[in-house]
């Protein structure tokens, strides 16, 4: 029997706003536990939530990028449950009136565009981080109250690859809208996955299994692929799939049982009485959308138009700081592609070697642009420019020109007219070599190239000289 996977994703995105969702405590600047807290974040009796405007603006931008209907009145609800990581004993969320509804995102799988529909996007606050030890648990309230947006897809996803692409598409939107770092490894983008399978052609859904703790985009694919195999094997051997929550174990590449789900918890939602409904003017919503930074797709399109390959564009866009660096530098050179080459090959190589990221790079984009211009306009080869670049990276006090001089690099003559001048000189001085070449002695060509190099004091490009020399010899 052939099965079809039915997959839905719930993605939680941590916003990188200056302050928290409902308090003025700073958000995400310190790694020292319990240093970024206001009385509200600790649930002190009598404290009250005040909605963070920037968090609303971010949510509007993401909702718009996902083609959603945006609610122009904000409502918040309380989700009530008892747990040690929940300071107030409830979480403020948007259950009944999410800020965005009914959207979609398009992903590309095997060269085909597929549309994944999105049910809702809503704002809420994060809980404490728990650090479990043998016989005690520590609470870090820094995370409590950090603004989150949750994006819930409809079960339109059919494979691990699609799920990964979908999550990457969401990541690209939240990152380029300035909403979040979108780093799964660091937990600023968290992905809960619902997976069920059904025989192809069957309408009804199978039993849903939730997978948590997936810590990378690649692992979304791995976890789902494993889970689909596991469920298929169960069904084929006549065993039912149980409704349960599993986690992905990276080491073994498997999903592991966390808990069997009984009836869904009753969170006793009700409207948050300390936040009266907030009317958003059309102007406010429009302004939030209008001022949204350029998103991934728009940037990529622009990069392609500037002559980059799709792969190169994606490499650069994978890291927003890299994209910003690229845009700053590429504007100062003749061909964006030349700047991209240095960035992708030389700079990335350098950063990898030093185990650094683009954020650590001291070299300014305009300096790299200067070096690229030495190739584009200064007659130096890529190799020569790369040498200069390495020299500047080694000694940041050097300007590219100073580095060029200290390396005794001189511009190559690649102008064919000038090269021809040297060639004619060399041929006139060595008629015997012409005869030798015509007689089939290949060494003669090498000798003549050497003479050209000598006459030009090494300034001509030897490959170009050899090509032109051959052409000239053929004519004679």
């Amino acid at each position: 029997m052939n099965f079809e996977a039915v997959i839905g994703l719930e993605i939680h995105v941590e916003q990188k706003t200056k302050s928290k969702m409902f308090s003025a405590a700073p958000d995400g600047f310190s790694h020292e536990p319990n240093t970024e807290i206001a009385p509200l974040d600790m649930g002190y009796p009598g404290t009250m939530p005040v909605v963070n405007k920037q968090a609303v603006i971010n949510a509007i931008r993401v909702a718009n990028a996902l083609h959603m209907t945006i609610d122009h009145t904000l409502y918040f609800d309380r989700k009530n449950y008892f747990y040690s990581d929940l300071p107030k004993g409830y979480q403020i969320t948007q259950q009944n009136r999410p800020i965005g509804k009914n959207g979609y995102v398009d992903i590309e799988v095997d060269g085909k565009i597929k549309r994944i529909r999105i049910e809702r996007i809503h704002m809420e606050e994060d809980t404490c981080k728990q650090l479990h030890f043998m016989d005690y648990t520590l609470l870090d309230y820094n995370r409590a109250g950090v603004p989150l947006v949750e994006i819930v897809s409809l079960p339109d996803i059919r494979s691990g690859t699609e799920a990964m692409k979908y999550a990457e598409a969401i990541r690209n939107i939240v990152v380029y809208s300035g909403t979040s770092d979108g780093k799964m490894e660091e937990g600023s983008l968290r992905c809960d996955t619902n997976v069920s399978i059904r025989p192809i052609g069957q309408e009804a859904f199978g039993t849903k299994v939730e997978i948590k703790n997936i810590n990378s985009f690649k692992n979304i694919e791995a976890a789902i692929d494993y889970e689909v195999r596991r469920q298929s094997e169960l069904l084929l051997s006549g065993e039912p799939v149980r409704q349960e929550t599993r986690r992905f174990d990276e080491a073994s590449g498997r999903t592991v049982l966390m808990r069997v789900k009984s009836d869904a918890v009753d969170y006793k939602y009700f409207c948050e009485p300390n936040i009266t409904p907030i009317k958003l003017s059309d102007g406010f919503v429009d302004e939030a959308i209008k001022t949204c930074p350029e998103l991934f797709d728009a940037k990529k399109e622009r990069y392609l138009k500037a002559g980059l390959s799709s792969t190169d564009a994606e490499i650069i866009l994978a890291e927003p700081k890299m994209a910003a660096y690229f845009e700053e530098g590429a504007a100062k050179v003749v061909a964006a592609k030349d700047f991209a080459n240095f960035l992708i090959v030389e700079i990335n190589g350098y950063l990898n070697k030093k185990n650094e990221t683009i954020a650590d790079l001291q070299l300014k984009p305009e300096t790299l642009a200067e070096i690229v211009l030495l190739q584009e306009k200064g007659g130096l080869s890529h190799k020569q420019c790369a040498d200069i670049l390495n020299k500047v990276l080694e000694d940041p006090s050097l300007t590219p020109t100073a580095a060029k001089e200290s390396l005794h690099i001189v511009a190559q003559v690649s102008d064919s007219g000038a090269i021809m001048g040297f060639i004619n000189q060399a041929l006139e001085a060595n008629p015997q070599s012409i005869v030798d070449f015509k007689a089939g002695k290949d060494r003669a060509l090498g000798f003549l190239v050497g003479q050209v190099m000598k006459l030009s004091h090494g300034k001509v490009n030897p490959a170009e000289a050899s090509r032109l020399l051959k052409e000239e010899l053929d004519k004679r």
Partner: protein, 489 residues
């Protein structure tokens, strides 16, 4: 006679004239507080109060609260001072921040002497359920009659002339009912007029900061100090704060007053009814138009149930942080569930647990439509009716309670008209968030009974105007246990 027995205005004049110092006033008030036998205090901050009083040496002529001592109900967050809300679960809890009203009064150089008792977590109307036991009514030295609640300690402190004003909170009638039983002015303004930041929530959609004074002038200047937008409370209004005492002397000629017929009719106390009718005549004589207006009997009868459902539902959630992990004494347990179970079992009284069970039940998925959401819709209906009457009338005027303070031993029949209507109508002001003020009307066997005016949203100034006119008619301004006056109505 001491300055503390005089009206706030006269105390202020004496302070400005340096006839008395804030420290002298504070010391006398502390002495009275310590001698008081009504179990009105959770905490008396003798040292802090005196230290602050000593710093007040230059009187501020235009600040009527300068150097005035006061008490706060023990459900206001006070930085560095234990705040228990009269519940065992908060014993030992020392807040890290001041409630906005506490900070504002500090800024006004009013001197906080300490914290007063309340019904546990402000849930209750009897003044008997706090962890320190019953708070007594100073009008009854035999201690047989209650003072009402939940702001029982604050009411007792002002009625005993220990302080000229005290902070309370009002979710159903928790300031305005005890004010009736203690012969006081009890005021709660429009929802959003005073910041609730730092008030321990009972049911935030109904919660108000309120306060007790002994006259209308004091009530108006206290609101001057407390009102205003607070960035910590997003439900606080940015409407400009007024000079609430400005119109106190103005006549009320032409003002329209609606007496709710069903409420007056459900009162069986003939003496009270007679006094109330006299007051209506007196208001008419002043030129006010007073009409008896029908509300809607069924809607009035539904107030109590609506109140219980909404307030208990919100309360279960508000107090979910008191779990032995975040707040409340740790009482052991192997799992987090056990820790919470043990802490909450030991920390809350049976009455509170009952309210939590009711609230939780009303919010359950299968009951929410039938109970919580239905109560919400009914609240909207009630509010609509109130506002409909206030379209034609400036005020709604009714007796604040069906009679004087009940005996501790008296169990009310919770299905009688008198209970359902006459004893529970003040929550109309909480449902609609409207300004509402209780004032003394008369005494029966030495026990006071009050009336209540309710006005339109943010029309506090006008409410004080009618209250002030009424006060002149009643002759009961500044009455207290230490300085009783004779009712003229």
């Amino acid at each position: 006679m001491n300055y503390l027995d005089q009206p706030l205005k006269e105390i202020h004049e004496a302070l400005v004239a340096k006839k008395v110092t804030p420290l002298e006033l504070t010391e006398e008030a502390l002495k009275r507080a310590k001698e008081n036998k009504d179990n009105a205090f959770e905490l008396i901050d003798e040292e802090g109060a005196k230290a602050f009083a000593k710093t007040l040496t230059e009187p501020e002529k235009d600040n009527p609260l300068w150097g005035i001592p006061y008490f706060a109900k023990d459900n206001f967050s006070t930085k560095g001072l234990e705040t228990t809300a009269s519940s065992n679960i908060l014993v030992g809890y020392v807040p890290v921040y001041d409630a906005t009203v506490i900070a504002k009064l500090k800024e006004k150089k009013a001197i906080m002497l300490g914290k007063t008792t309340l019904d546990e977590l402000a849930m209750g109307g009897t003044g008997t359920t706090g962890h320190k036991g019953k708070t007594f009514n100073p009008y009854d030295p035999k201690h047989e009659h209650m003072i009402g609640g939940s702001s029982c300690g604050s009411a007792a402190a002002v009625a005993s002339s220990i302080v000229p004003f005290a902070l309370g909170s009002d979710t159903g009638d928790s300031v305005r009912k005890p004010a009736s039983y203690a012969g006081l002015v009890g005021m709660k303004p429009t929802w959003g007029r005073i910041s609730r930041y730092g008030l321990f929530p009972f049911a935030p959609s109904l919660d108000h900061v309120g306060y007790f004074t002994r006259d209308v002038y004091a009530a108006s200047v206290v609101l001057d100090a407390l009102a205003g937008r607070d960035p910590h409370d997003s439900t606080s209004s940015d409407k400009p704060v007024e000079k609430y005492e400005e119109d106190l002397a103005k006549p009320i000629k032409g003002m329209k007053i609606a007496v709710l017929k069903e409420i007056v009719d459900s009162i069986t106390d003939k003496e009270l009814r007679a006094h109330f009718d006299k007051s209506v005549e007196a208001l008419r004589k002043e030129g006010a138009v007073v009409d008896f207006v029908s509300f809607d009997r069924q809607l009035l009868e539904s107030c109590y149930a609506t109140y219980i459902v909404i307030s208990c539902a919100e309360a279960t959630s508000n107090d979910a942080n008191l779990d032995g992990i975040k707040f409340g004494p740790y009482r052991g347990g192997k799992t987090y569930q056990e820790v919470m179970y043990n802490a909450r079992t030991a920390g809350f009284s049976e009455l509170i647990k009952r309210r939590f069970v009711i609230g939780s039940y009303c919010l359950m998925r299968e009951n929410q439509e039938e109970l919580f959401l239905r109560a919400q819709r009914n609240r909207a209906k009630i509010v609509e009716k109130v506002n409909e009457i206030l379209k034609d009338y400036d005020f709604i005027y009714v007796p604040a309670a069906p009679g004087p303070a009940p005996l501790f031993t008296k169990a009310s029949d919770k299905l009688s008209d008198e209970y359902l209507i006459a004893d529970n109508h003040l929550c109309l002001g909480n449902f609609a968030g409207l300004p509402s003020i209780t004032l003394p009307l008369c005494y029966e066997n030495g026990l006071p009974i009050g009336i209540n005016f309710m006005g339109r949203a943010f029309e506090e100034k006008k409410l004080f105007q009618v209250a002030s006119a009424y006060e002149r008619l009643s002759g009961l301004a500044e009455a207290s246990v230490l300085d009783p006056k004779e009712a003229l109505l």
